[in-house]
Each structure stands twice: as C-alpha cells, then as structure tokens.
C-alpha cells in the first residue's frame, strides 16, 4: 500500500483509479533563460549583449531581435540556453588566469607585422 498521497491537504488517501492530476508535470513557472550574442554592423564577432527569457529557441531569437536590436545594432544574432553554458568559477580565477600574466613571450609582439595584415 505505497500508492498513497497526502498532497492537496486531504490527508493520506488511496489513489488507485482516481484522476488526481498527479504525475502531470506542472507548467514551468518561468521560461528558460537564454544568453544573447549580437554581431554588430562593423563587428567581426558576436558579442554577448545580455540575456532574456523565452519559451523555446526560435522564440528566443525573435525576442532577442526585439530587445537587443531595436536601434539597428546588429546583422546577426546567436542565442543559447544559459544552462548549456559551462563557465569558469570566480574561485578558480588565480589558477586559471594568473599564470599567464608574466609570460610575455606568448604575445606575438616580437615580430614585425606587415601593414597589410588586417585584424591583428
């Protein structure tokens, strides 16, 4: 007799053959969060501009167009669900980034770059 529930405030009642609505997932209280990346007219890459909530991927794209390109900012938009992003933690900032701080030889600044090489 494990099929009992006290849900709904009526005390423990048997559920056998009773339509209770249990097991039907409740609607999500809020739409998932998406991160928005916009490539500007003169930009070469997509830049993170903010986030928004949307019901699905396509709707996220439409919302991003409405919220973040109202003033003629962009020529291309990427959206990605925020929970699909793996991010580094602020706690690991030092082991992640500090070691590269004094490795000046990693910068290609000891070469002469010809004038006609763009975007360096």
């Amino acid at each position: 007799m494990s099929n009992l529930s006290a849900e709904g405030g009526h005390g423990a009642v048997p559920l056998e053959g009773v339509p209770t609505g249990q097991g039907v997932p409740a609607p999500e209280p809020e739409w998932p969060l998406y991160e928005v990346f916009v490539r500007g007219k003169r930009g070469l890459n997509h830049v993170h501009v903010g986030s928004l909530h949307a019901a699905d991927d396509r709707m996220a794209l439409l919302h991003a167009r409405d919220v973040y390109t109202r003033r003629n900012e962009g020529v291309s938009i990427w959206v990605v669900r925020a929970d699909a992003i793996t991010a580094s933690s602020p706690d690991e900032k030092d082991p992640m980034f500090a070691p590269s701080g004094d490795k000046v030889y990693r910068h290609p600044t000891f070469y002469d770059i010809p004038d006609n090489v763009p975007h360096m």
């Binding site: 003169r42 830049v47 909530h53 919302h63 910068h107």
Partner: protein, 311 residues
C-alpha cells in the same frame, strides 16, 4: 617591454559601438519635420486626388487604430519580452500610419479637419486626433477591444497576413509615396506575421488551456476576416488608376499563408459566418462599433483639449 595590444577599446568589442556616429536619421525629440521630405509627392497622371487621399486614409487608419490597440498591451503582456515585441509592432504600424496620413493630406487637403488658428499640429496629427469615428476608414478587425494574449496573437496574425499580401502588391503602386511605404512596410509586416504565427502554433500546441483560448480567439475574430477582402469603390478606383490594390485580388495568396499556419498548429479552418455590416456598410464606409468611439475619446482627448499645444 613592447606595447601589448589589448582589445579593450576595440570597436569590434561591442555591438553598440559606433551606433550614434551617423545619427542624422534618428528622430530625437518630438519636433518633427515633414515626414515626406525628399519624396516625390506629385500625384501621378490620371489619378483623382480625392481617391488617392481616401485610399491612403484607409490604409493609414488601419495601421493607426491597430497600433493603438496593440500599444494598449504595453506593460500588460505576459512577459517583459512580449511586452517589447508588441510595443515594437505597434510602433512599426504607427510609423506606417504617419506616412500614410501625411500622404492623404498632401494629396488632397480637403480631407484634413480645420484646426483653431495658431495650432502647430501637422496635417497627419490633425487627421489622427481631430476626426470623429465615422470619418475613420479602418477595417473593423483593428478596432475591437483587446482580449487575452491569444486574442492579440490571432489579431496580429490575421492583420499582418492580410496587410502583407496587400503591401507586396502595393510596392508596384504608381504613387511614389505609397510604393515607398509598402517597400518599407513589407519587411516590418513579415516580422509581425512571423512573431504572431510562432505564438499561434505555440499556443495551439501548448496546454489544453492555451489551445482552448487560442481557438476561442480564432473563432471570435474569424467573422471579420472576409471584410478585409471586400472591395470598396475607392479601392476599386485606386486599383484601376494603378495606385492602389484591390484587396479581393490577394485573398487567395493570404489564405494560402494562413492555411499553412493553421496546418502547423493543427487547427481547423473556422466555420464561423462573417459578421455583417450595418445596412451593408462596414469599417471602410466609416461604420464602426462603439469600441472605436471609446478608443478615440481616450486617444484624442489631450490633443483636443490643447489644440495649440507644443509637444
């Protein structure tokens, strides 16, 4: 140590950099100049000025009234994102209205109400704020009192499917203003249609409740769909003169698009009968319901209280 290049101030770092470099095309403030500046406003040969003006009023009133109704959603939509989406749609339509009403006034200033001496209101404002409901030529679909979000979805879908079909043809208008308005409007309306169609399918395929609401809204608005394709004598004359579009000729194209949305949403074409006019007269004839009068009372009250006001 050599200079290390950082990209902190690189213009490519921000989508917003350089935005206001060339800002001559933005309207800052409200001291608008002539909206038709730089456009050839001569009336094409053989076109009756009053016909052109009335035709422009019809298209302009459709977008003005629809814009106001959608604008009423501002701060009331289910989510911030849809609030902004609906506001954008309303603003697009308001822009179309401004150009079309200005076109009507320029073609034949007899359509413009007379304002008190010294009023700075431009002709398109006089048309928007100083006409009574029977002078408005909009289709009745635009003026209905707002319902729930499903109703807004269906209304924007029906309106934009129809208007886009008309504007696609209006791009060929012999009138330079109408063809320019249509060329710009097609891009805006294509987006409105996409947005509304997306929500139509989402609500239809969502929960039992969202589907019930969507179909209720669809059945309630469907009786006003046939009116969109009625040919008013002014529209017939404008089409004959090569400046306008006879809406009856785009019905098939519009319904083909709509059927695709209905199929994707798994919604049957409504059987609801068309809503009749009053003594055969509908929105295009200036026959409107009480909701338009109430809407105009609110929309026009400030302008009418201060006809000499500077905004």
């Amino acid at each position: 140590m050599p200079d290390i290049h950082t990209s902190a101030e690189d213009e490519h770092e921000s989508a917003y950099s350089g935005l206001l470099v060339n800002d001559a095309h933005w309207a800052f403030g409200t001291d608008f100049e002539d909206p038709l500046a730089g456009v050839d406003t001569t009336i094409p040969d053989g076109v009756d000025a009053a016909t052109l003006a009335t035709y422009a009023l019809m298209l302009g009133d459709d977008s003005l009234v629809m814009s106001h109704r959608i604008g009423e959603w501002t701060s009331n939509a289910p989510d911030l994102e849809d609030d902004i989406a609906l506001s954008n749609i309303a603003l697009d339509l308001l822009g179309q209205a401004r150009l079309l009403l200005a076109r009507a006034a320029k073609a034949d200033d007899a359509v413009v109400p007379t304002l008190p001496e010294g009023s700075p209101a431009p002709p398109e404002d006089a048309l928007a704020y100083f006409r009574e409901a029977p002078d408005f030529r909009n289709v009745r679909l635009a003026e209905l009192v707002n319902g729930d979000f499903a109703e807004a979805t269906v209304r924007v879908l029906l309106f934009s499917v129809w208007r886009l079909a008309v504007f696609e043809r209006l791009r060929e208008s012999r009138d330079h203003v109408l063809s320019a308005v249509a060329a710009k409007g097609v891009k805006e309306l294509a987006y409105h249609r996409d947005y509304a169609a997306r929500w139509f399918v989402t609500l239809a395929q969502g929960t039992d409740e969202s589907r019930r609401r969507l179909i209720t809204a669809y059945d309630a608005l469907w009786p006003l769909w046939p009116e969109l394709f009625d040919t008013h004598p002014v529209e017939a004359a404008a089409a004959e003169a090569g400046v306008g579009v006879d809406p009856a000729t785009v019905r098939e194209a519009a319904e083909t698009v709509l059927d695709q949305v209905l199929a994707a949403a798994d919604v049957e074409r409504s059987e609801a009968p068309r809503r009749s006019g009053v003594l055969g007269r509908t929105g295009r004839d200036g026959m409107h319901g009480e909701p338009l009068s109430r809407m105009l009372a609110e929309m026009q009250s400030v302008a009418r209280a201060h006809p000499r006001g500077q905004w």
